[in-house]
Symmetry: C2
Subunit: 225 residues, 2 copies
DNA sequence: TTATTTATGATAGTAATGCTATCATTTTAA
DNA sequence: TTAAAATGATAGCATTACTATCATAAATAA
């Protein structure tokens, strides 16, 4: 038995649904590879087209510009992660255990699920860490938000916030703590690997230490309340 | 009496020292205005030159490219902030009070110090919030780091880490907590104003609530240890 | 003061980026 | 089997991201 997970994406993110054709899937697949290789700044539709063996115009039929493509990929990731979380915390009745599991999922390098899709989750995780914030750190964040581009991120944040409240109903900042955990899971990883003196993990570079830090941070806050 | 604070910048950040001439100072002044107005992506040296009333080539004599200029501005900000912190926490002997003061300084919109310089600190603070991470979220972060471009940020982080340790000598993650406070002071502000459902401050949009959140986060962690 | 370096302004030019448009050909769906 | 839709090939254009040249103005040193 093989079930394929399908994530329904916001239609305003693309001109033509990239999941509806081979070329579209290639765009997703190769853009993940190319962005993770060159970084988002140096990434262009021309290079992507050469990579795939199609033309620039071909890419533009699917995505308006590279910003939309980045937003698409990040939205896909957040939606995928929310599913991972709901799957892996299913039937857990202790909210604290649940929250620990969430933190672990957020801060652990994902392995590519070879079968699932044309998207390499492992490379995408690297993109999220290094480029993810660029999806919303723009002047258009307001319009993009109106079009619900960040809904998967907000949904994930809401899910985490709900678990936090389940742990500690009196806690005053569930949503801010949720966004803090999510962002820091990635930033501490980026810092650990690139600016290690901003972290306490420079020597071992172990994800497990980031997880320990986040657990410490979160549970000290929640137990106090 | 009027003392002017002077920040000595890393010479590898510029081709010609922008503080050494009127044109240079204009570049700094107008780039802060223009970046905060248009965002870093839409900001170009051409537009900046028009703004100032000079030519594109003129700007290139000072800065290699706009990335270096952004790194310059962020480095300036971190150095300036470190001074503010050392000034405002001077002679405070209670480390917890000191840390509270630091959090407040990090999360409070700065007012432009009209006199100090050609840099509008208030606008620069907005740039740091919305564009600051882009200074290091690049493929060149390693090389930039080798050239010490992020030293002011790392120094600030070290200062905050030291205060954290003074509060609680057993605490295991002083540097990671420091970078978390610094990043979150800005991200929660950005979220509050642009993606409010990621925070608990969407209704009032008060900086004081961000400060309260960060204090809660930090001191629960430190008191526990 | 003059001579000389140094900074600026004006102008040009070039390769790459970020698109849009057209049209012929192939693929797919009715 | 025919019409519709997707792709490939090519062209073009405005903007971006630079680099180069040369004349002039301003600062400085002899």
């Amino acid at each position: 038995m093989k079930l394929e997970l399908h994530i329904k994406m916001n239609e305003a993110l693309f001109l033509r649904n990239p999941e509806s054709s081979e070329l579209g899937k290639n765009i997703l697949k190769h853009s993940v590879q190319l962005i993770s290789k060159t970084g988002f700044e140096a990434f262009t539709f021309k290079k992507l087209a050469e990579d795939i063996g199609t033309t620039e115009a071909g890419i533009y039929r699917y995505f308006e510009n590279k910003h939309k493509l980045l937003v698409y990929l990040t939205a896909w990731y957040w939606a995928w992660l929310e599913f991972q979380i709901s799957f892996h915390t299913n039937n857990m009745n202790n909210p604290a255990e649940k929250l620990k599991r969430v933190i672990k999922l957020l801060a652990t390098t994902v392995e590519d699920d070879e079968n699932t899709s044309y998207i390499n989750e492992s490379l995408l995780y690297q993109i999220i860490i290094a480029e993810g914030s660029k999806a919303y750190l723009t002047k258009q964040v307001g319009e993009d938000n109106k079009q619900q581009f960040f809904k998967p991120y907000k949904d994930l944040c809401a899910v985490v916030g709900t678990i936090i409240l389940a742990c500690c109903p009196n806690y005053k900042y569930p949503k801010s703590l949720a966004s803090t955990i999510i962002e820091m899971a990635h930033f501490q990883n980026f810092f650990m690997n690139n600016l290690p003196s901003l972290t306490d993990f420079g020597n071992n570079k172990e994800e497990s230490e980031i997880i320990a830090f986040l657990n410490d941070l979160v549970f000290n806050s929640l137990e106090k309340n």
